[in-house]
């Protein structure tokens, strides 16, 4: 971040004052942060999670900035930055795909083949189990990692439209299609490690690093755990297999986009407005984004003019899989309301499901729907 500040200063003459807060705190306290005295500009997530706060009037629309920089973004990004009122509220900074990650050396050693269908995936899991590996790693102490698996199975089985409508309340959690998703997921859960509810995602990813687990459904940013010599080069991924439905053709996947937004209530905003806008424009350049992500192989800069030759093979492959996708989602807790998807809601509901995945999920689904129903109207 300091490199960006320096570059910003030399490019425009404006000084950037940085405030870093730890990830979890920032998310937990976002609503008080934005209502209190936020900074002029802050990093956040796109999707419903962005629109939720924009609707409450806590972010400033930046259509003028977007008009200047939109040439540098593909079409996929332009939908991600708009609020419910059609105005633009965020500038995309980075993104990354969720896929099934594995170590090439492990696959080679056991002569595994990358599965392309669900049945192949299950067979591979069975084989891995016989070979003494944990087939699919999972560290769900924080509650959100499991949501990635829900997303992808629901997308493949029921399609993008249904998935997004489900997460925004236009479809019901009691829908039999949701039951189908849970039942399908239950076919995969026997291959999870036994202690997944007590381990963090880092510990889960570490089991893949240590060659104790074969695969993990996760985001590209797990590459930060592959820090030992040769680990990163050994990391590879494949898109989640097809389930044999019509929606496979969508090649949909979670590819969350991180954005940078302008707050509303910053006390300095009126004074800093032009500087803040020029910072947003600056951030929209590939060269700036590279400064941030040069040494972060888990994130891909969003600007089209980014010098892609500096990408690792993994980042290139990741960018490719996203551009091949016809439909992109932002991830469960960004596509839905934060007061539904959080620890008080779906994180805990999914943990409850995962305790007894083979049980009939209809009653649990009823509870999920009831919880949604009693939430106050959004804005």
């Amino acid at each position: 971040m300091d490199a960006i500040a320096a570059a910003f200063k030399s490019s425009t003459g404006n000084t950037l004052k940085l405030n870093t807060v730890d990830h979890n705190t920032f998310q937990d306290q976002i609503s008080s942060y934005l209502q209190g005295t936020p900074d002029d500009v802050f990093t956040w997530f796109s999707g419903h999670r962005m629109r939720f706060f924009a609707d409450k009037g806590l972010a400033t629309p930046i259509d003028d900035v977007w008009d200047k920089v939109k040439g540098n973004y593909t079409e996929a990004f332009s939908t991600a930055v708009k609020g419910n009122d059609g105005h633009v509220y965020g500038i995309p900074v980075d993104y990354y795909p969720w896929a099934v990650f594995y170590r090439k050396s492990v696959f080679q050693a056991h002569s595994y083949k990358v599965p392309t269908s669900w049945d192949d995936l299950i067979k591979l899991c069975q084989q891995m189990k016989k070979d003494g590996l944990t087939p699919i790693a999972l560290g769900d102490k924080d509650g959100w990692p499991a949501q990635g698996t829900f997303d992808i199975i629901n997308l493949r089985l029921n399609g993008y439209d249904f998935h997004i409508e489900l997460l925004t309340g236009k479809q019901k959690w009691t829908d039999p299609r949701v039951t189908a998703t849970y039942k399908k997921w239950a076919e995969l859960t026997p291959y999870y490690p036994s202690g997944f509810a007590g381990t963090t995602w880092q510990q889960g990813a570490d089991t893949v690093v240590q060659k104790k687990a074969g695969m993990i459904v996760f985001g590209l940013f797990l590459s930060q755990e592959f820090s030992g010599p040769g680990d990163l080069d050994d990391l590879d991924f494949f898109p989640f297999p097809d389930l044999g439905t019509q929606y496979d053709a969508e090649k949909a996947l979670d590819a969350p986009i991180d954005v940078v937004m302008m707050s509303k209530k910053s006390p300095n905003l009126s004074k800093d407005l032009s500087a803040a806008k020029s910072f947003l424009e600056f951030y929209a350049k590939g060269s700036s984004q590279l400064l941030l992500f040069k040494n972060a192989p888990g994130f891909i800069p969003t600007a089209t003019d980014t010098d892609k030759s500096s990408f690792s093979p993994l980042q290139t492959k990741a960018a490719q899989i996203i551009s091949n996708a016809k439909r992109i989602t932002q991830f469960f807790d960004r596509d839905s309301r934060p007061d539904f998807a959080g620890a008080n809601g779906m994180q805990s509901f999914l943990l409850t499901f995962l305790r007894q995945p083979q049980a009939d999920p209809t009653q649990l689904q009823g509870k999920m729907q009831q919880f949604w129903d009693q939430l106050p109207q959004e804005a």
């Binding site: 937990d28 609503s31 007590g198 620890a343 008080n344 305790r355």
Partner: protein, 323 residues
Amino acid sequence: MGNSTTAAPARKQEASGAGAAASRGRKRYSVLTGVDKWQLFLMVGIPLALDLILIWGPTVASVFISFTNWNGYGQITAANVNGIKNYQVLFTQYLFFWPAVRHNLIWLAFFGLVATPLGMLLAVLLDREIRGTRIYQSIFFLPVVLSLAVVGFIWELQYAPTEGFINNFFPLNRTGHMIDWLGDPNINLLAVLVAASWRHVGYIMVLYLAGLKSVDPALREAAAIDGATERQIFFRIVFPVLAPINVIIVVVTAIESLRAFDIAYIINHGKNGLELLSTLITNNSISEASLVGFGSAIAVVLLLISLVPIVIYLSRVMRPERS
């Protein structure tokens, strides 16, 4: 007890003599000047105002907000009022409410039946003039001076599934199935309770020791001379005399059980078997989710339950005042 007896004769003297003690608005305290009265007013007024604004005000406000569906943004209007809906949802629909209540009750039961008696036992054992009693007491009391955040972490070093002490030292892994102390919803509450008790026992021990020391030794001596065994002395004589302290201990145990929050929150924000009323409040209303109305309903439930031991405590300790 000493206090009430000192006050009574003093008052009698004052009533008869000059310079009589006065209460505001009753007798004239001729020696209190206007300045004095202002000072007294401020001395009581400022702390009281702070207490009302920062503690009792919010408590009452929580009750009012619990009847709305306010989400914390902007103004709270009549449109937000939704009657007892929050409570209906809480008691009949919210999947995690009754488990949280259950967990708080389990907490109470564990503290009340295991931790507190252990603390009392240690106090009784250490109440004698044995060698090293000071050191023993210090060791048992040591966890009390640690922050619960530190306690949570120290025990995580024990409980972590792959790196923790317990799973690595004792051969508990049956072919790859390791005991998930913190993630298995059937045992994680117990694991947390052990960690919390590690601290609670020492606290109770010190409180009970203080009580034991106040027991008149003559009582014990008399019983010993009469041939009573130690056990008899304790249960027949000491324990009944300590009735006031026993009540305090019970109340303190109850209050601590209802306040349980830190360790569960540090581990996983109170999910998957570690739900507590306090973590439900936090997760619903002071995190990214801002369901202030709903969270306040949970807060009111916690308040009402807490008022039981609090009222008992007040009635016990304020009793001599009234006389």
